[in-house]
């Protein structure tokens, strides 16, 4: 699993490549939190274009970050999720809290 991030328009864009499960969740959480607390970003985009697997541990990660970001008045958008990741997002009910976008560009427009 690899995490990359960059800042754009007061927005932290996090790309997770590989699998997001209980084993990899801690590293994802730490990286995002460090950037959110120290950087200028108010909003968060998860770019799941290279995410090959996610289970409910990933939902925990998203909900946790949603709490942080929404407390600062920011938004969370999930971009480029594949079909199986999207199924678990739907099942979890998290899409009532966050938006989904087909592309990173569309996600930025939603912020």
């Amino acid at each position: 699993m690899q995490i990359e991030y960059n800042h754009q328009k007061k927005c932290l864009i996090v790309t997770i490549e590989g699998e997001l499960d209980h084993h990899t969740a801690a590293a994802v959480r730490e990286t995002i939190d460090k950037e959110l607390f120290s950087g200028p970003a108010k909003n968060l985009i998860f770019d799941f274009g290279h995410l090959t697997f996610m289970d409910s541990s990933g939902i925990g990660v998203i909900i946790g970050r949603y709490k942080t970001v929404s407390a600062q008045g920011g938004k969370v958008v999930i971009a480029c999720a594949n079909q199986s990741v999207e199924r678990i997002l739907h099942l979890s009910g998290i899409l009532k809290l966050t938006k989904v976008a087909r592309t990173r560009g569309l996600a930025l427009e939603m912020i």
């Binding site: 499960d21 209980h22 084993h23 697997f53 409910s56 541990s57 079909q83 199986s84 099942l91």
Partner: protein, 143 residues
């Protein structure tokens, strides 16, 4: 029964992906669709993660057993831990219920297993461990 396999592995979180890969390799004999494969992968991941986090409370030196059986187009998985057991199974299976909220567990594990598999049974004895048995019919089998 057409085929069967059993593996035992340490309760390390690294082994969650190992168990998923083994489950996928076994079920691939039935030629499932990508979606069916993803369902099984996710459900197995949830059960093994539960065994490690809840059954063994994160201790990495205990054993998790995964057994899989195939009969016709039906595949079943049994995931067993000899950990602390579940006090109230009904409550544990409620969506969003978690005993580990501070660790950002979503409480969706059993809901995912129930939704992605056709059958789910949970047996647990306090202080003795938990066995999750779940099965799925592979509808798109070419057999």
């Amino acid at each position: 029964m057409d085929n069967q396999m059993e593996i035992k592995f340490l309760s390390k979180s690294e082994n969650e992906s190992f168990a998923r890969i083994v489950a996928c390799a076994f079920v691939s004999q039935l030629d499932p669709t990508t979606e069916e494969m993803a369902d099984i992968k996710t459900a197995v991941s949830e059960a093994v993660t539960n065994a490690i986090i809840h059954g063994y409370e994160g201790r990495p030196d205990c054993m998790v057993t995964m057994r899989a059986e195939m009969e016709g187009d039906y595949v079943s998985f049994l995931i067993h831990d000899s950990g602390k057991g579940i006090e109230n199974i009904e409550r544990a299976m409620e969506p969003l219920f978690t005993t580990c909220a501070e660790e950002e567990r979503s409480g969706m594990g059993f809901t995912v297993m129930e939704s992605f598999m056709d059958d789910l049974e949970v047996e647990s004895t306090l202080g003795a461990g938990t066995t999750v048995k779940m099965g799925k019919r592979i509808l798109h089998t070419k057999r």
